[in-house]
Amino acid sequence: MSTAIPRQESAMSTAVRPIPFHRLLRVETRKLFDTRSGKVLTTILIVLSLAVVVVRGVVAGPQFELLSGTAGIVFGTLLPVLAILTMTGEWSHRTALTTFALEPRRVRVLAAKCVPPLVATVAACVLALLVAAPVTAAVAAVQGVRPVWTVELLPQLGSIAAMVLTTAMGLALGLLLLNAPAAIVIFLSSTMVWSFVKVMLGSTGETLAQWLDLATACRPLITGDMTGLDVARLAAATLVWVVIPLVVGALRVSRKDIS
């Protein structure tokens, strides 16, 4: 136990300046990985993606584009969950008190929280390509088959964009609900609910999904043949699942009493 008298510098030697955004960004990025749950989730994400690519390679043969896309199945689920946990973490553990006491400009904190999951999503997609390449070569060598290296640029970029939008949906749901279990359940069950809607309502359900289900609206983006109508549909789904919940959630957090 220390009873030492603290050395308090009586006058501040440096001028006090508001916290710059890059510093918030560094701290929020660090918060993603500095807890046990953050470390576990990151490890699972990496190991599972690698495993999925290798297994798919062995089963389906050395097809580069197919393999790199396979990792996306893991990312498409886990990165939005990571995004939800990032957004809701301060409320699950009530650390919002500390965070918003250090930076009362709350919307800046929220903006800083949005960036790392989005950057991680792009990085994960690039990493998937980098991992798929040696796996394709190795599987080809082992199985004695000619590898297929064909890659189409537009669908590749489209899948990355779709992945980024899916992560953004996670962020938006997290910010709107400020409750991790609720946001995760809604995110994970949305696929099921939409397939249910399509079955129950037939062509009406199909039309609804094209306009309002982000995953359905993203499909033309991934196949690389967007028409003008597809752009409008994607914009509508993005408005509903990303823009509106982000704006409503941010307004609510900026006004509410933090406790």
Binding site: T3, A4, T95, E103
Partner: protein, 237 residues
């Protein structure tokens, strides 16, 4: 200097704070006393810009807290020692704080030493900390930016007698160096040892304020407090 000027807060029907006014001057350690539910935490959250007052104003160092430039470098706050991510280590909590305030990483180490957390303790996840250790960590977090005002909500909870003694020495020396210290508590005996001034609150209203000697009046703070709160209870009914 910390100043409350006729601060009121109403939640739907309930009046949580009713025209609360008091001042904490530089060099003073002021105890903000009241039973649970009296409105202490509400008042401190309004003071730190986390809640809005329905009317009235609260200022720290002459300005509303949220308008201070990088408030963490001017005002130290501990609003709930229990509000920590259980999976983060104590050292990491202070490192994050130091990073955000633009202080060197060494400041986290200095602070650990100041609040008496050993290297081994600081490397453990906060989830395994006792309340006393969380209080030390929280006080350390509040002191990172070498503040000129200090706002602590229930910092004495969970501290053992040595811990109380330690906190008295620490807060006294901070006040002597010109800091204005405000701490809330429902533990009267502990506050009597730590504070020089006292503000008593019950049902959202300031019941009495003055020096510990004035309010203790030979009978001790506890008796004065019980007298005041029982009157307040009766008048509230």
């Amino acid at each position: 200097m910390i100043e409350f000027d006729r601060v009121s807060k109403t939640y739907k029907e309930v009046r949580a704070l009713d025209e609360v006014s008091f001042t904490v001057h530089e060099g003073s350690v002021t105890g903000f006393l009241g039973p649970n539910g009296a409105g202490k935490s509400t008042a401190l959250r309004i003071l730190t810009g986390l809640s809005r007052a329905t009317s009235g104003s609260a200022t720290v160092l002459g300005r509303p807290y949220a308008e201070l430039e990088c408030p963490g470098l001017q005002v130290g706050t501990l609003l709930d020692a229990g509000a920590q991510h259980p999976g983060r280590t104590g050292r990491e909590v202070l490192t994050l704080g130091a990073m955000l305030l633009g202080l060197p990483r060494s400041r986290a180490e200095e602070t650990l030493e100041l609040v008496g957390l050993t290297g081994k303790e600081s490397g453990r996840a906060v989830g395994g900390y006792s309340l006393g250790m969380r209080q030390r960590l929280g006080i350390g977090h509040a002191l990172l930016g070498r503040p000129k005002a200090l706002i602590l909500d229930e910092p004495a909870n969970g501290l053992d007698p040595q811990g109380i003694q330690w906190m008295r020495t620490l807060l006294r020396s901070l006040a002597d160096s010109g800091c204005a210290v405000l701490l809330s508590s429902h533990l009267l005996h502990e506050v009597e040892q730590i504070a020089d001034h006292v503000v008593m609150i019950g049902h959202g209203r300031v019941l009495a304020q003055g020096t510990v000697a004035e309010l203790g009046g030979g009978r001790g703070l506890e008796q004065t407090f019980l007298d005041l709160t029982s009157t307040a209870d009766r008048s509230a009914q």
